[in-house]
Assembly symmetry: C2
Homo-oligomer: 161 residues x 2
Amino acid sequence: MADGTIYLYFKNKDDILVQFFSYKAKQVFDLFREEVFRAEHAVEKLRNLVRRHLDEFQRDRNMAIVYQAETHQNCRSVEPQIREMAKMYLDIVSEIVEQGQADGSMRKDLYLSLVKRFILGAVDETINHWLHSGGKYDLVSMADPLIDLFIRGIGNTPQMQ
Amino acid sequence: MADGTIYLYFKNKDDILVQFFSYKAKQVFDLFREEVFRAEHAVEKLRNLVRRHLDEFQRDRNMAIVYQAETHQNCRSVEPQIREMAKMYLDIVSEIVEQGQADGSMRKDLYLSLVKRFILGAVDETINHWLHSGGKYDLVSMADPLIDLFIRGIGNTPQMQ
DNA sequence: GTTAAATGAATGAATATTCATTCATAATTT
DNA sequence: AAATTATGAATGAATATTCATTCATTTAAC
């Protein structure tokens, strides 16, 4: 493709970014919701969500690189529009956690807006590490250990029999 | 200060970044270790570490902005040197978790290298959200709720009496 | 008065953007 | 159905912009 061709389809460089993300987001969030509704219980919903999240980022490494860079930048003009997408993700997590609280599988005393970021942050850092390691290992295999950490934490709390 | 003045003290732009980070890292990691050794139990060490982490980033917002941007960028020449610092942090976390496992306060069946990133990721995302919100609220107050999530997770596992 | 430090306009390499032109295809005319 | 005309997507050379870096000059220090 020639240099100028892209400007027939996009206003400027930022517009490419924003349009790409809103296109990709539509695609990916449909998959996410599908994956979430496939499961019945909250924990399984969360597991499916995280697994699909990792899977999509592993599938599209360039998207992962751009996403990581753009969402961790301040003072970009396109920032609000891209962060809007992260919000959609956080809303799915909220929904799942609220369901988990309702059915008793998750604690009631949770600071919900922190829980969302706690989960997204851990998944994001998992992806970030995978990117910086050159994508050598299988990212999706991190889903189950992550869910285990999210649900049970690292503390050694003896369970009831 | 005039444009050119900085080149009397630094080789180039990347050198500014690397020198700044290694200077800051020395400062901050001394504080971190001090904070960690101040506590006796592993959980309290982790709490002190996270609290100090949030405190330092809240204190130096510009550092936080640059750190977030640089650690989430691929293909930067300075990347390895900055990631080296994240590694130091991860090593402190490792140490704490291993102590926690030894004294029985943390689970033995942990995927340690994932636990490190799980904790760093959640703290990082907490900082990132604070940055994007314009730093309006108190970041340090997130430390205790975060530690609670790290230790107990979000699952509702009834405890022994 | 000599040395050292600071200045900021100038540079140029990298990259974002424009726009006159080309050309294959579609539509219209004979 | 052959010839003519219109269309608009693609091109890429030309231009605009950004930004890290330099260096001749000025200012300050001793």
